[in-house]
Symmetry: C2
Subunit: 208 residues, 2 copies
């Protein structure tokens, strides 16, 4: 294993640093461009020109516009979104864990750095089934799975009804979050997502 690592290491550290700089410039250009002109009018040529690289550089590293944007986007969201990378918290208190994750998602969705590209990609996936399927597989489904697994753990721990379908229950949390954010019906706040968690866990019927 150590030998393999050695042989795959870049032979020219300077060229590797240049590549890393280009990659970051391409990510940034892709996210800025999709925010400004939308998915449909974002092109490989436009990204290359804005990033100050040749378009062959992009084609060498990514097979398509969707692939560049997806990677740029994953690079953007991974460090701060607890639903990605860091995993879903399991403190043994389902209500507290759901509130924490939804509050972090509110912060991310309302952060100006993420809002533009996130809206542009969501809008592209809504009208274009192929784009939607790609972003669903790479970006959305992994996040939804973490909710579902946390709900399954809650069922085993006696914190959630064993009869519910955890995949459907997941949408009681992420659905209202996305609805209010995408459609801008009312401000997306921590107080809102806290109420959603309480209503979903305890139900809307009169409490005995």
């Amino acid at each position: 294993m150590a030998e393999t690592e050695t042989t795959t290491e870049p032979r020219h550290p300077d060229s590797s640093r240049r590549s890393e700089r280009s990659r970051r410039a391409i990510y940034e250009a892709a996210l800025d461009l999709v925010t400004e002109v939308g998915y449909a009018r974002t092109t490989i040529e436009g990204i290359a020109s804005r990033a100050g690289v040749g378009k062959q550089t992009i084609y060498r590293w990514w097979p398509s516009k969707a692939a560049v944007l997806l990677e740029a986007f994953l690079d953007l969201v991974t460090p701060v979104d607890p639903a990605h990378g860091a995993g879903f918290p399991d403190t043994g208190d389902l209500e507290a864990d759901l509130k924490a994750v939804l509050r972090a998602s509110v912060d991310e969705l309302t952060d100006p750095r993420y809002e533009g590209p996130t809206r542009a990609l969501a809008a592209a996936g809504i009208v274009d089934e192929t784009v939607g399927a790609e972003f669903l597989e790479k970006l959305l489904d992994p996040g939804l799975r973490l909710y579902t697994e946390r709900l399954e753990a809650a069922q085993e721990a006696g914190e959630a009804d064993p009869g519910i379908d955890p995949r459907i229950a997941t949408e009681l949390f992420v659905g209202p979050l996305l609805h209010r954010w995408l459609l801008r019906t009312l401000p997306l706040t921590h107080d809102y997502t806290d109420r959603i968690v309480e209503y979903a866990l305890y139900g809307l019927r009169p409490r005995g």
Copy 2:
């Protein structure tokens, strides 16, 4: 009143019928075009050309592209969506009423005639705040209000907890519906919305 009706009646029935035919042709052209090329690339000129009318005809009747599309869209959805026009049912059984309305919404959202324009308008509103605000005010908010009023009636009838905020609770139903439909995560079915209603009303916690 009878006299008023007489005086406002069109003096030239033929011209009125022609106008009605033009209006329907414009609606149809607008919905087809937005489905095919998206909101941003739909123009008054394009709608006029496709409808076989002069663009002055459109400018005489509507102030903007958004206004034509909104009216075309309202004309399309009103006859079949129980959340519009016909009002929200109140049979005294909140669970049954919510299931009926959500099932009707599923049928509408998955009907190919509505799916294209609905997706195109949703995507436009997601990236363009002005378009989003217009569609929210005219199209979305009136529907959400009907849910909220039905939940308020349920609170008065002792079918829902008086402590919940009915506007927030509304999003427990419409959020998952829109989430699954917009993002195409899994098939949008009656069984799915039935489960959402049950989970939201009775909660996800273990049942005593």
